[in-house]
Amino acid sequence: MSRLGDLGARLYRGEVGYDFVGKRKFWYALSILITIAAIAGLAVRGLNMGIEFKGGAVFNTPKTSISVAAAQDHAEEASGHDAIVQKLGNGGLRIQVTELNTAQADKVQAQLAQDLDIPQEKINADLVGPSWGKQIANKAWTGLGIFMILVVIYLAIAFEWRMAVAALIALIHDLTITVGVYALVGFEVTPGTVIGLLTILGYSLYDTVVVFDSLKEGSKDITKQTRFTYSEVANRSINSTLVRSINTTVVALLPVAGLLFIGGGVLGAGMLNDISLSLFVGLAAGAYSSIFIATPLVADLKEREPSIRALKKRVLAKRKAAAAKGEAPDYSDEGPGEPRGSEPDDGEPAERDIPPAAAVAGPRSHGGRGRGRPSGKRR
């Protein structure tokens, strides 16, 4: 905690920081790469849709003493697809197998009859239509579309349209990656998966909104000063909310990881895997995109605005002038309250001498003032 808390303090003051915005091209490239991989996986391998989407066959057996688990093993072996087995009120079994057509169903029926030692004609086979899953999926898509439109409108009102656009791109990015992972891993897509995916909607945006909120606050009167460019302020916002982002993500991921690795892995619960995997990937992608994609995108969009561009010019000119005078560029006009380098309980020089690349002018320079600079407050 001491280390982390201290890091938090220094991030907060901007003494340390990573130049997320400055290095955005790298992260964009990385994201594009991952997205391409996801789309390729989707195109090549496709999604492994569950019985609810693809339909399949249902076998009903008469009263039998065979256990559900044994029947499931037999059915999966006979068909090569996932099977769901339920016990019926009359003592019989209902075995649902994904993705079978009539001919395959006949074969599986024969095999099952043999394995379960039940006369074949007593096993009733029927094909199940995909309508249920299709309907759910179609409506989920509709819901997704409407949600995206509404959320863009909302964010455009609450923040501004650039942030809304950036948040939307980040959201689509998260969903693509998650779906791509599904395609690559080959997990079965069930309505549970769709649900997991839909959870990401709100969650991915939650993180993004937290950063944007800070950015909105930080860039309120940005054109009235000449010390920082918008990108620098944006970067500062990311850094000052970094601890928060990390903490919220860790705290959200821990229970999901519990579901995925302990619930799914150790205890072998199939459906939990489906849901928690999509959640795990989606949440991680959501945290990543809120930091590396959404905010840099906003900065990119913002820097196109004339007033912001003019600001950048002014800032750079001023820095140049200051540099010419041989002064430290950023602090020349600093008020007395600047809390530069107050790390009381740990002054590791190594930490402090962050190479310029990592502690770029932006994040480091506005130390303590990103948000309500202390000098101002205690005037």
Partner: protein, 600 residues
């Protein structure tokens, strides 16, 4: 850049934390008490975890519609049944096709499966048909109306079902006193129900004045069915009508099966426990023409009624039929609302109606809501027969739920460990808040089981586990704000108050986005996804409630304690560790220069 003066106006008032907390606790105790009071101690589980009932329906191909059982119609039927059984959308019932002509409906345990079966299986087709002839349902008590002249049959219908319910009883008197008394004789037998216009202002012609009368009576469509020409089909209908015994359930069932929408048909209807039989004309308006229907209480009579809104086309058709019928003599001024061959209600028409109408009858709340459901979710394109009804065990089984719960517990433990390591003393507040949130979520979910049929399925369990993280997020946002304020050099009490307005805004904005997602999904989707969206929305709302009415007041109170305000190393708020600018412990208005004016 961030305006320096910005922070100043955002000093939140401490308020009355104690009172808020007590209110919150009372609400929580009320919820938990309600849970015990209702005798429901666990949430109702969905079909994947608890099993339930499976109903298999087989589509019947009625004569003359051999091709009706096709994929499109089956899928439409699935959609309609899905909406019907899921009602509010939190029941988690599953509906899917099986084979080419079966639909299986899985209903979770604990649902009123009898009611569900009725909604699913027995309701099929809805028509509005004009009444041609009306008679008592039991042939033995009846003087046959062989000549089909309307008058005797109308009389005979009156005798077995005298004045109907008393609530209706006072109405006819008033009506008969009305100027458009042309159909006064019919008024007394409209005990079945009555269609009244809602929009009197619109094109409804409220009083068919006497002068209108003669002209429409000559209209062929009206007179033709009333005095049927002696063609064989009609004679057969008459003969069948005479022989029909509506008290016989089998006979009634056969009627529904044979009815064709385009031709006159026989039908039975129950009125105050007495069966009546009808000859009905071809269907004029179908169930598809109804846009929406709701059960409400008629303020005047205190009876349950069903209000209908028609679609554009339906409204025109309905206007046409009512304008025609309003010119008729009893009983031909009635139209019958026929559901699966059975007359639900046969209101008489006194005026032209258009966009909406209401059905009154001897409804209970439940039957009115059922009918409203059926009308608004449309009539099935096919008729179905219930093939089998059987119970099924859970598809996933208890071990999945166990695995999920164990995993959830482990996840929660990990979250707590992380919070304690990172936030130390503050974690205590987070944990207590999480617990409060968990208790409320559990109690509300449990109460919603019997309340609106809410059923918890495995995805929802996962959602609830994930909600741990989402709820913890709000605390983290707040705690980090407090710590930022402390870093600015404030002492704890002002820090807690100053951090709140900003944290509050962030929490509200982000929770709004989550809630928006939930609301959209709930509105748009069906079945499982809808149930999940409900869970998501619920936990989001509870998150806001808990943070506002529990965490914040607790934080305010805690800030007054020595343990936290002294900033001990275990409080999680140690200014030194947080890297607050040093000399400021007691004075937020630090004036001194930075101790370590680091270069750049």
């Amino acid at each position: 850049m961030a305006a320096p003066q910005k922070g100043r106006r955002q000093t939140g008032a401490p308020g009355k934390p104690g009172r808020t907390l007590i209110l919150f606790l009372i609400a929580m105790i009320a919820l938990v008490g309600g849970m015990f009071g209702a005798g429901e101690l666990t949430p109702r589980l969905g079909i994947d975890l608890a099993g339930g009932t499976t109903i298999t329906l087989k589509a019947k191909s009625s004569p003359g519609q051999a091709n009706a059982v096709n994929e499109t119609n089956m899928n439409t039927a699935v959609g309609i049944i899905e909406r019907r059984v899921n009602g509010l959308g939190v029941q988690e019932a599953e509906v899917q096709t099986q084979g080419s002509d079966n639909i299986i409906v899985n209903i979770p345990k604990g649902t009123n499966s009898q009611q569900a079966r009725e909604q699913v299986g027995t309701t099929a087709q809805l028509y509005f048909r004009p009444v041609l002839t009306l008679g008592p349902g039991d042939p033995s008590t009846q003087q046959p109306p062989p000549d089909a002249s309307p008058a005797p049959s109308a009389d005979s219908s009156k005798s077995p079902s005298p004045s109907g319910s008393d609530k209706d009883g006072d109405k006819p008197d008033k009506e008969s006193a009305d100027p458009p008394a042309a159909e006064a004789p019919s008024a007394s037998e409209t005990t079945q129900g009555r269609a009244l216009t809602e929009d009197l202002k619109a094109d409804a012609t409220p009083t068919p004045s006497g002068s209108d009368k003669p002209e429409p009576s000559a209209s062929p469509s009206a007179s033709e069915p009333a005095t049927p020409p002696a063609d064989p089909a009609t004679e057969k209908l008459q003969a069948d009508f005479a022989a029909l015994d509506c008290t016989n359930e089998k006979a009634r069932g056969a009627l529904g099966d044979n009815a064709k929408s385009g031709q006159p048909t026989l039908a039975c209807g129950e009125n105050d426990g007495v069966w009546e039989k009808y000859i009905l004309g071809p269907a004029e308006v179908g169930g598809k023409d109804v846009d929406d229907a709701n059960a409400t209480i008629n303020q005047q009579t205190g009876q349950w009624i069903v209000q209908m809104d028609f679609t554009g086309g339906g409204s025109k058709k309905f206007q046409a039929i009512t304008s025609k019928l309003s010119q008729q003599q009893a009983p031909q001024n009635q139209f019958a609302i026929v559901l699966d061959g059975e007359v639900v209600s046969a209101p008489s028409v006194r005026q032209t109606l258009s966009a909406n109408a209401e059905i009154s009858g001897n409804f209970t709340q439940e039957s009115a809501q059922d009918l409203g459901n059926i009308l608004s979710y449309g009539a099935l394109p096919l008729t179905f027969r219930e093939e089998t009804v059987t119970t099924v065990t859970a598809a996933l089984g208890g071990e999945q739920l166990h695995a999920g719960l164990i995993a959830g517990a482990i996840g929660l433990a990990l979250v707590i460990i992380y919070l304690v390591l990172y936030y130390r003393g503050l974690a205590l507040i987070a944990i207590v808040s999480l617990l409060a949130s968990a208790v409320m979520t559990y109690a509300i979910m449990t109460l919603l089981g019997p309340g609106i049929g809410f059923a918890l399925n495995l995805p929802a369990v996962c959602g609830a586990i994930v909600a741990i993280g989402i709820t913890a997020d709000s605390f983290i946002v707040y705690f980090e704000r407090i710590r930022d304020e402390i870093r600015e050099g404030r002492t704890l009490r002002p820090a807690v108050e100053r951090a709140w307005p900003r944290a509050r805004r962030t929490i509200l904005v982000s929770d709004f986005v989550s809630f928006l997602a939930a609301a959209v999904l709930f509105t748009v989707t069906v079945g499982k996804v809808q149930g999940f969206a409900f869970t998501l929305g619920l936990t989001t709302l509870l998150d806001v409630v808990v943070v506002f009415f529990f965490t914040k007041p607790i934080m305010t109170l805690v800030a007054r304690t020595k343990f936290f305000s002294s900033g001990g190393s275990w409080s999680g708020l140690d200014p030194k560790r947080l890297g607050a600018k040093p000399p400021l412990r007691r004075s937020p208005r630090r004036l001194s220069a930075p101790i370590d004016p680091k270069e750049a």
